[in-house]
Symmetry: C2
Subunit: 458 residues, 2 copies
Amino acid sequence: MSRDAALAELQALLGPRLSRSAGDLADHGRNETWFAPMPPDAVAFPETTAEVSALVAICARHGLPVIGWGTGTSLEGHAIALHGGVSADFSRMNRVIEVRPGDLQAVVQPGLTREGLNTELRATGLMFPIDPGANASLGGMAATRASGTTAVRYGTMRDNVMALEVVLADGRVIRTGSGARKSASGYDLTGLFVGSEGTLGLITELTLKLHGQPEAITAAVCAFDTFEAAVDTVMATIQMGIPMARIEFVDETTAAIFNAQNGTRLPEKPHLMVEFHGSATSAAEDAQRFGEVVADMGGAHFDWATTVEDRNRLWKMRHGAYPACIASRPGCMGLVTDICVPMSQLAKAVAETRADIAASGLPGPILGHVGDGNFHAILLVERGNDDELKTAKALARRMAERALGLGGTMTGEHGVGMGKKDLMAMEHGEAWEVMARIKRALDPDGILNPGKLVEVAQ
Amino acid sequence: MSRDAALAELQALLGPRLSRSAGDLADHGRNETWFAPMPPDAVAFPETTAEVSALVAICARHGLPVIGWGTGTSLEGHAIALHGGVSADFSRMNRVIEVRPGDLQAVVQPGLTREGLNTELRATGLMFPIDPGANASLGGMAATRASGTTAVRYGTMRDNVMALEVVLADGRVIRTGSGARKSASGYDLTGLFVGSEGTLGLITELTLKLHGQPEAITAAVCAFDTFEAAVDTVMATIQMGIPMARIEFVDETTAAIFNAQNGTRLPEKPHLMVEFHGSATSAAEDAQRFGEVVADMGGAHFDWATTVEDRNRLWKMRHGAYPACIASRPGCMGLVTDICVPMSQLAKAVAETRADIAASGLPGPILGHVGDGNFHAILLVERGNDDELKTAKALARRMAERALGLGGTMTGEHGVGMGKKDLMAMEHGEAWEVMARIKRALDPDGILNPGKLVEVAQ
Ligand SMILES: Cc1cc2nc3c(=O)[nH]c(=O)nc-3n(C[C@H](O)[C@H](O)[C@H](O)COP(=O)(O)OP(=O)(O)OC[C@H]3O[C@@H](n4cnc5c(N)ncnc54)[C@H](O)[C@@H]3O)c2cc1C
Ligand SMILES: Cc1cc2nc3c(=O)[nH]c(=O)nc-3n(C[C@H](O)[C@H](O)[C@H](O)COP(=O)(O)OP(=O)(O)OC[C@H]3O[C@@H](n4cnc5c(N)ncnc54)[C@H](O)[C@@H]3O)c2cc1C
């Protein structure tokens, strides 16, 4: 590898849009969790697919790593520069290229954020529903196969990315998928790139599925004496086929943290936060049937968020849970777990996790997208306290083992990155080696986000 | 390759379940369309994953092709033995392994048919909705990424296969996916094998998503003076967000064929056949709103299929369309096209196709799953008439070009097989070569269903 020659060529290509400033390097070496910063050698701010293609071709020639960068909110050190190289920051490729209302589709650049897209869609009556809380980039969300609060109704990025433009490891540009709602035309390359965490190609354009803004929305929060009752409510609601747009669980610790941070007066009990989308009639019917289930399960303190303001406040609080948890223990950082299990195993998974956390002595509020069987414990570790970090890592590993033992996955939505690579063999067995074979076939020199997700001999 | 040595080893492995009878060879060399029969050298009837694994390992050692066989209903010569080899017939691996009502999942063997599964599910209140008309095997449906009449509501096999067990080209067995509703754990191998047409591995077990049997079902058929009015009705229904479970289009030619074959008295006009699933309230509301759209668009002869018998008759007629079309021209065979376009381009795609067929002089009834933008022309070609076959192939090619020009795909659901391989470069450009790289990475010696879907140097 000749780093300096590569950087000189990149500089010639991008001029001032190749930065080696200390600030930019530090910014693109940081991560949301406990990994030590790992800055790249340079940060590129491409503006076109052609520039991304040229950039990758230069890096390929010199064997310099290229790491995609959306907004840097991923939680497993996905975007840090483990082996140095160039961070390709997509923030200048953030346009809506086209909205096609008749097809319920939008074509966008990867640096556009989900809130940015929804702002542009407001007048169209359409929306892009996937909501990971953070205002992440759509390219980053595709790359991590993100989901969040609305996946129970609208699916994940897997279900909402229809087509991609991708720059391959040698700089070639391909298109995957089409504007058709379905296709049986060969291997599902779109699906392969979604969730590949920048290790197989760089996404330079996405065609996304849009959905109609619901005619009516109702939301509510309700408390339960036990988390079992809350989980049983979720199960019963699903079994009855009541279509929820969101159904979020927070435990009593999280409820207490909400009260402290937001001045709310939630009972310090397990809660469900729900939302229904539909026609005026169907949303009301769904909400009413859900109310009956809650009553059957002994739920109480049922509060409807009837106004838009109430509803926004509710979801703002839910989306603020992660920083609120961090703030609840001064000087701490969060190690966020992310297991997802079959619905029938959810109560067991939560119960065992609660007991395990309690025994560890670490604070670990639990919350999650329980309509999918997905929940997080946010393990709050004192910064610099190696013992606590070790305890937290051991807890996280046991949670992953538990999820696999119950037929689930160790990551429902956050992905693998660096943080969960050592769990991949346990989850996938020989299938992990198949992933490595695909990696080698598409990126033989290993320049795309090396060291993440798969293990290939360098 | 030492064919005889391989067959001797396979005989030792499977005993009488390796057949070289003329009947079995002929059966597994036939196809549903115009390709000349291409029988395999032998037909294997494995009963366990271990046997499939051993079978593939033997074939790998000797370089003998292995071609999966479900029920042989695929329409592009997918399962015929282009280069000889062993047809692995899954009909003896047809058990439901487990139904998990609490998780809305079933684990099945690949040879089970969709009707077989639904029969076993009847008492559970659950169903597997994907419905390609033919009573295909679930392994074959996964391998072709099948869909059919209900995809507009329930998605395709892409959306309803959660996990797989797969025997790789060297005989190793892997598992992909899990019982969790979502996962961000590495490359989406499940999605990669779905639609890979037996060219990357043999599916020996599937975990499928189930859905609740709807509380209420309403169905209807209605006629329009022009196909444009029918298509506009579909568009408007989608835009209003009325959730259809099925919305099928048949043109006036198909309506006339139905009358001749079934003794019905449909007006010889374009029709829509629709179905709504939901609670009693919501299905009624949906049907009523749809009725208003139809009236607005000048639709008439609106017939509700209120009883179960009426409904079954309706869908039996629709599912019988293909044989009915064939029967309508004695001595003919069908060349079935399968384009899928963005909704906004559907009217244009149908109009141009109608004109093109009319100019060709060939009979070519049109029908399709228009809620997805997917439709078929069934080009009726006299057997042995090379001129007609040439005309039909040219028509089919122009349809594919038209679909691509309109932003769609040349196959919405039937797949590539042999029949559409020469269109792959046109649809995918360099991405087709990426598919070939994946093929080589997973099947370096090219023993799995060689000659289909991808092009690799042998
Ligand atoms: C408070 C908080 C809450 C969160 N809640 C959720 C949640 O509920 N659900 C959820 O799924 N996630 C959640 N996340 C995680 C995070 O928001 C997601 O992983 C998100 O998808 C990351 O997007 P990003 O733009 O920040 O990507 P980055 O962090 O910048 O990058 C993520 C990965 O994608 C790659 N990448 C980025 N852009 C491209 C591109 N154009 N082409 C190829 N590769 C690219 C990077 O190399 C990296 O590997 C949360 C994070 C925070 C901080
Ligand atoms: C009248 C009629 C109507 C149809 N309508 C539709 C429709 O509406 N929608 C639709 O999608 N299709 C339709 N089809 C096509 C066909 O039913 C589908 O392609 C179906 O999925 C094929 O399933 P099969 O079991 O018959 O597979 P086969 O034809 O036996 O095999 C299909 C392909 O899958 C491979 N395969 C089979 N089993 C396995 C396995 N276990 N592991 C790996 N590979 C395997 C084979 O090698 C082959 O490449 C129709 C066909 C007919 C005849």
